[in-house]
């Protein structure tokens, strides 16, 4: 089987769209027949990336758009979450467990660590003042 499929959505940088983003990924992934645990991992990782785009990238400016692309290549699901927001000056620092620039929002600084734990691969590209793209992939094999 070498299934190839693609979808993309764009939504306002509003935190109520986190539920929507998780639902999109879960329904798109369904064709790979994932386990409940794999689905839960995907939903959690996507929620982290989308939350970051909304609260860090765009500082919750609802006039801005978060873009999410989902791709299936064989049994690999790849999700890309992109914002044209403030960007990240030091990516290595941002990815460090417990690092957060927003402790006042009671953020734990564990978002990237959760993405890394729940996906097979997480890639972060960012240009300060231009935006951030997070690309995450996971092999979905039923019965894993």
């Amino acid at each position: 089987m070498n299934l190839q499929n693609y979808t993309e959505v764009a939504f306002s940088a509003l935190s109520q769209n986190e539920t929507f983003a998780r639902a999109v990924v879960a329904s798109f992934a369904a064709q790979l027949n994932p386990t409940i645990e794999q689905l839960s991992d995907l939903r959690t990782a996507v929620s982290e990336a989308v939350t970051n785009a909304i609260i860090h990238g765009y500082e919750q400016d609802a006039s801005k758009l978060v873009r999410m692309e989902c791709r299936i290549d064989g049994d690999i699901l790849t999700v890309t979450v992109r914002d044209d927001g403030c960007g990240i000056a030091d990516i290595a620092l941002a990815r460090r467990p417990f690092y957060t620039s927003k402790p006042e929002l009671e953020r734990s600084g564990m978002g990237f660590s959760v993405m890394e734990a729940f996906m097979d691969q997480v890639q972060v590209e960012s240009v300060p003042g231009k935006g951030t793209t997070v690309t995450m992939s996971k092999q979905i094999r039923h019965g894993d």
């Binding site: 935190s15 109520q16 986190e18 539920t19 998780r22 645990e37 839960s40 991992d41 939903r43 959690t44 929620s47 982290e48 939350t51 909304i54 609260i55 467990p97 417990f98 929002l105 009671e106 953020r107 734990s108 564990m110 978002g111 660590s113 959760v114 734990a117 729940f118």
Partner: protein, 101 residues
């Protein structure tokens, strides 16, 4: 997100139902802080068995309440922790602060 709370003496039991993400976190925080505003509360049990989704925003909520309760010498307990939530809790090291039952 809904919270059902019961107080017995110095013990407060709060059962959370629904999705705990950045969107619901603020509301949950306000609801829990209203409940623990009562300084006689010395033990807070958060029952997460009704939580259908949680990401690191939920971790922030639990840690934030821990800080408040710990300042008055009290303790926080979590119950009904799912496998996914347990993974997030374990990687954060929260079990050195908050007891799992």
């Amino acid at each position: 997100m809904e919270i059902n709370a019961q107080k017995r003496g110095s013990k407060l039991y709060a059962a959370l139902t629904g999705e705990l993400d950045q969107h619901s976190a603020e509301k949950v925080r306000i609801m829990l802080d209203t409940l623990i505003h009562d300084i006689t509360v010395r033990e807070l049990t958060l029952d997460l068995s009704g939580v259908t989704f949680m990401d690191s925003a939920g971790l922030g909520v639990v840690l934030g309440r821990y800080k408040k309760i710990q300042m008055r010498g009290g303790k926080v307990i979590v119950t009904g922790v799912s496998a996914s939530v347990d993974r997030i809790f374990r990687m954060s090291g929260i079990y050195t602060l908050v007891e799992r039952r």
